[in-house]
Structures are given as C-alpha cells and as structure tokens.
C-alpha cells in the first residue's frame, strides 16, 4: 500500500490511549480553529478587489510565501502517510520523501518564474495566453477542478478518519459530521479570507508542522544519542525484518508489476508537483518573478528539511513501537507519528498525553490548510477561467467575479463534503496518486509547450489537456485501485484490466504525445504575435501584473 494512503481503510482505535486525553486534544483543535478563524475574518476585511481575493494583493514576501507554499504542499500524506510507510515498510517509505522533494526543481527551473511573469490569477491564464480563450480556459478550468477535487477527497476522507480515531467517534453519522465540519470550515476560510486568509492559515500551519516535527525528531535522536546508525539498527531489529528493512524492495520489490508500478509512481511524483494548480497559484501572491524564485528556494529548504526529518519520524516509530501496535492502530500505519509522540512522552504520563495531543492537532491543522488551498484553487479557476472568461466572455466586473468565486467555494465545499462522506471508508491512495498523475499528464505538458514551443496551437493544448486527463482518469478507473483487489474501492467487483495502481507511466507520455500530435495536425497557424508577447513577458516580466 502506498504511503500516500494517508489514512486508509478501517482504523482500529488508538483511542484507548487517546480517550483520557480527549479534552486536551479537543481544546488544541479548538484553539487552532479559533485562531485561524480570527485570521480569516481579519484577512477578509482587507480583501477588496480581485487581486486581493485571488492573489492576496501580491503583497507577501518571498519568505512568507515560501512558508505558505510549504504549508500548502505538506499534506497529511506527507506527515502521517510517509511516517507510517517508513514505520511499516522501512526504506521504501523514504523513497517518497525524495520524489516529493526533487519535484520542486521542475517548478523552480521551468515553471515558477515564467508563470508569475505571464499569468494573473490562475493556471489557465498561462495556458490560454496565446490560444483561443474559451476552449482552452474551459479545458484548464476542468482539469484544475478535477485535480483539486481528487486531492480534496483524499484530504477530507483523511480528516474524517484521523479525527474520529483521536476523538473516538466511530459511528457513521459521527464521521460524516466530522467531514461536514471540515468542509464548512474550509468554505469559511476561503470565501471570507480569500487568498490572504488562506495564505496566513498555511503559514501558521507550516510553523506548527515544522515545530512539531523538530520536537519529535529531537526527542527520537536524543534516545539514540544522536547516532543515526543506532537508530536504523534498532528499527531494523524491532521491525522483525532485519537488514531488509533498511533496503529498497520490501513494499515494491515483490514482482515485475509492482516494480513497474513504482517507476510509474516515481515519475508521477516528480512531474506532478509543477502541474498542481493549488501550488501554481501561490506564485501570484508575491510581487515579481524574483520573489517567486526566492519563495521556491525557501520552500525547497523547508520541505527538504521536513522530509529529512521523516527519517527520524518513521524509523523512530519502527524502533520504539512494536509493529503489531502500529498495525493494530491503523493497518496503513497512518497513526505511527501520533503514536510515536505518545511513546516518546511515556504511555501513561501527562507528558505523553500532551505530546500526543499536540501532534494530533498539528495533523489536523495540516489537513485544514491543504484543504483550504485546494478549495481556493478550484473556485478561483471556476470564477476566473470559466465564469468570467467563458460564460461572461470577459465582460464580468471584478465584483461579479469575486462573488462567483465565493459561490463556487460553497459549491465545491458541498461537493467535497458529499464525496468525502461517501469516500470515508475508501482507500484514498488512488485519489492522491491520481491527483499527481493527472496534474503531470494534463497540465504539465501544456504548461511546458505553451511556454517553450513556438508552434504549439490551440488544438495541441486541448488534445494534451483532455487526452492526459481522460487517459489518466480512465486508467485509474480500470486499475486495481478501483476494483478487483481486496483493498480496492469496490472490492466485490472486478473490471480492472490495467495492472498498475498509478497511471503515470502511460498517461504522462501520452499527454506530451497528444500535445505534439494535436499541434502538427492542426490546420490553424500558431499566433506568433501572442507568442512573442508571452515569451518576452515570461522571461523579462514586461507588463507583469
């Protein structure tokens, strides 16, 4: 099972440990919610025009945005998922930390600065820049919303499982209630606070997450006198798997198919990040391309530091907790990090309870901040790309556009509450992996061709967005993630003929191929004047907003 399975499947409770500390956990959750709502209302008062709502007035510093990017990126999959995967599968879990980080170089070298220079509010601004506006914006809006909803679903389902686990809510109605609560919170954050509020929530979350992770890392290393070799050795021994625990292959080395699956996932991770709309729109919140570059550098530093600490988190859990206990708490290992906090503090001590509550609150904050970023990305794209430029043909006033974005937030929130409630017992691995694969298949080829290929045409853009989107989603539909596997969404039926759980290996090259094919077969001439504008703008920042 993938470590991106943030909180999959059935969870047997760690609630025994958690139950006595529930008041503390609830108060910390509540403190975070109150603090962030306060920020949101304050930010809402400062939000006056479209640039405020979509781009936070472009007034954030590179460091602030670097923090917010980190807060937007490090989802529950990173924190709980990777720690759990390392705790259960050892080295194979760590492979993901690497893919998630290296991916940032694509964003830094090829995408962040040109995007900041030539776009305004959404990814669609850049994709449609030199194309026929309406069809390309419709396509860009569609893929933005599809990617974001899949990502959202996973986070919502994860939030439901995490919170119910920690609060001991096991009834279906209770879980649905939690998912609904998260949904309502995200609607409030985004519709009132816009990009400004969302950015501050993400910054606060990033500081909490890094702080919590540093604390746990320090405590783990302290136990082993800062000797990493000792930590690894104890983890290998305690896992019962010996040296194999420290080598690749425990999870993905089973057979030729699982190895191919690993390559597929690796490619999707490294190419997906630079096509994730909720990450891309963060580059509009800084004044210029130089600041965008600096914020990516900050993000690489922060995210890289965090992923390095997942070594201590994951192997620490493996070394200090019996594997049976981790699996009993959650079969996918997703509660390894909170359990580790409890063990570090002492299982029956107040200190342990405080640590557990703190780390759980951090995980909750993590989910909320990511969910807010995703909602903002999809409602912005709906309002700016589809409503203002397609439906209103560019004639909407700023007020109308912001109102459309706020209404879209409510719509998207409602949809994800509904889907999240339905998906609460589903394996969410496929959903997160799909978001990355779809982003890499549908968005990245079009972004790169638009920026760097003179001949690229509207037809090329449409073929590559829709081609990548349909093939990526289609292959997942017929993969073992959806059916034909005990861990699938629909375990009782089998219509899976595609053997890989991640479609990236096929769908990403397909997206690139379709972009090329659509262009060379296209009857219309590329708009060279517009390309001159886009190219000069993207490299120099001339006329950037």
């Amino acid at each position: 099972m993938s470590p991106m399975t943030l909180l999959a499947g059935d969870t047997v409770l760690a609630a025994n440990e958690a139950s006595e500390h529930r008041p503390l956990i609830i108060s910390l959750f509540a403190a975070f919610v109150v603090a962030t709502l306060f920020i949101t209302i304050w930010a809402g008062r400062q939000t006056k025009d479209a640039a405020d709502f979509y781009a936070g007035g472009r007034s954030f510093s590179a460091f602030q945005n670097g923090l917010a990017v980190s807060g937007d990126y490090m989802s529950a999959a990173s924190f709980l998922g990777i720690a759990g995967a390392i705790a259960l599968f050892g080295y194979d879990g760590f492979l993901y930390s690497i893919g998630f980080l290296v991916a940032w170089l694509v964003a830094l070298l090829l995408v962040a600065e040109p995007l900041r220079n030539s776009g305004r509010y959404t990814m669609g601004d850049v994709l449609a820049y030199r194309m026929r506006q309406r069809p390309v914006r419709t396509a860009a809006g569609t893929s933005t919303i599809v990617v974001s909803i899949f990502y959202l679903l996973a986070q919502m389902a994860g939030a439901g499982v995490l919170v119910s686990l920690l609060l001991g809510i096991t009834s279906d109605a209770g879980k649905i209630g939690i998912v609904a609560l998260v949904g309502v919170l995200m609607i409030v954050y985004v519709s009132i606070g816009g990009m400004k509020g969302t950015t501050w929530v993400q910054m606060v979350k990033a500081v909490l997450l890094i702080g919590g992770t540093l604390l746990i890392t320090f405590l783990v290393l302290l136990k082993f006198n800062f000797n990493i070799s000792d930590l690894l050795g104890t983890a290998a021994e305690n896992s019962g798997k010996g040296a194999a625990f420290l080598e690749p292959g425990l999870q993905y080395g089973l057979n030729a198919t699982s190895k191919l699956d690993f390559i597929s996932l690796g490619i999707a991770l490294v190419l997906g990040t630079a096509g994730l709309p909720h990450i891309l729109i963060r580059f509009y919140t800084v004044p210029n391309a130089k600041a965008a570059r600096k914020s990516v550098n900050w993000a690489i530093g922060i995210i890289g530091g965090f992923y390095l600490m997942t070594i201590a988190l994951g192997f620490g859990a493996a070394a200090l907790i019996k594997p049976d206990e981790i699996i009993a708490s959650n079969p996918a290992g997703n509660t390894a990090a909170p359990l580790l906090a409890l063990h570090l503090g002492g299982v029956d001590s107040a200190w342990g309870a405080i640590l557990l509550a703190t780390i759980s609150a951090v995980a909750f904050a993590t989910i909320l901040a990511v969910v807010a970023g995703l909602t903002l990305a999809s409602s912005s794209s709906f309002a700016h790309d589809i409503y203002a430029n397609v439906i209103k043909k560019g004639q909407a006033t700023e007020k109308e556009e912001i109102r459309a974005a706020r209404l879209a937030t409510i719509g998207i929130g409602a949809v994800s509450i509904l889907l999240g409630a339905m998906a609460r017992d589903l394996n969410v691995a496929g959903l997160v992996a799909l978001a990355f694969a779809v982003a890499a298949s549908a968005n990245l080829p079009t972004i790169l061709y638009s920026l760097f290929w003179k001949r690229f045409t509207t037809q090329g853009a449409l073929w590559s967005i829709y081609g990548g989107l349909i093939v990526a989603v289609g292959l997942v539909l017929f993969s073992p993630v959806v059916s034909g596997d005990p861990k699938a969404m629909f375990p009782d039926v089998d219509f899976a003929w595609f053997p890989l759980k991640n479609p990236g290996l096929i769908s990403i090259p397909f997206g690139f191929l379709m972009g090329w094919l659509g262009t060379v077969l296209s009857k219309e001439e590329p708009d060279t004047g517009k390309y001159a504008e886009l190219e000069v703008r993207s490299l120099t920042g001339t006329g950037a907003h």
Binding site: D49, I98, Q133, V270
Partner: protein, 120 residues
C-alpha cells in the same frame, strides 16, 4: 482569426503593456536572444540531468537491491547515502540555478523590461 485579448486587462492598475509589434521586435533582438540562450542552455540540460539522476536512483532501488543494500559503515548502506545525496543535489541545484539567474538572467531581463515599459 483574432483572439480575445488575454488576459483581460481590468482597472488599468498594472504597467502599460507595449504593443505586439514592440514585443516582436524585442523577441527578434540579439539582446533577447542572448537572454533566452542564457536561460535555456542552463535550465534545460540541468533539468534533463536531475531527472536522469533521480530515475537512476529509482531504477537502482528497483533492480539493484544487492548494490543498494551494501553496508558502508554501521547500519548505513548505499541506499541510505544515495537517498541523502538526492537531497544534497536538490539543494545544490536550487542554489546553483538561483546564483546563475541572479548573475546572468536578472540584469538582462531587467534592462529589457525597463526599456520596454519606459518606452511604451
């Protein structure tokens, strides 16, 4: 066929956008050609290089278990060092690109931008 003007300019708060003709002229100029070459000849090969380096790591993890499992010192094996090296190269490449951009790209971009916006 004329396209709608993207992105729709509203409020007129941004700097004046030069004409398409001005953009064409700059695009064809030697100065811009040098900026483009200086960017692409750095960013493109580097992208190919780090993706190859990453894929090498993925492939070795898959198909060279014995090599990756070899212990170097204590419980630290080749796989662990290889993983840490991916972090190190990521940090280094980010730093290296930023240094290149600040020294070679920013001044050229700045010059073109201020001329175009000043002359608009």
């Amino acid at each position: 066929m004329a396209t709608d003007a993207p992105p729709p300019s509203k409020g007129g708060t941004g700097p004046e956008t030069p004409s398409t003709e001005a953009f064409r002229e700059v695009q064809e100029s030697a100065e811009f050609g040098e900026l483009r070459r200086s960017y692409r000849s750095f960013a493109f090969p580097l992208t190919v290089a780090f993706i190859t380096w990453y894929l090498l790591y993925v492939l070795l993890s898959n198909y060279a278990g014995g090599f990756m499992g070899a212990k170097l010192f204590g419980n630290i094996n080749v796989a662990f060092v290889f993983g840490i090296l991916q972090f190190v190269t990521t940090f280094l490449i980010a730093w290296w690109y930023s240094r290149h951009a600040a020294a070679k790209l920013d001044p050229k971009a700045e010059a073109i931008k201020s001329r175009m916006e000043g002359g608009a």
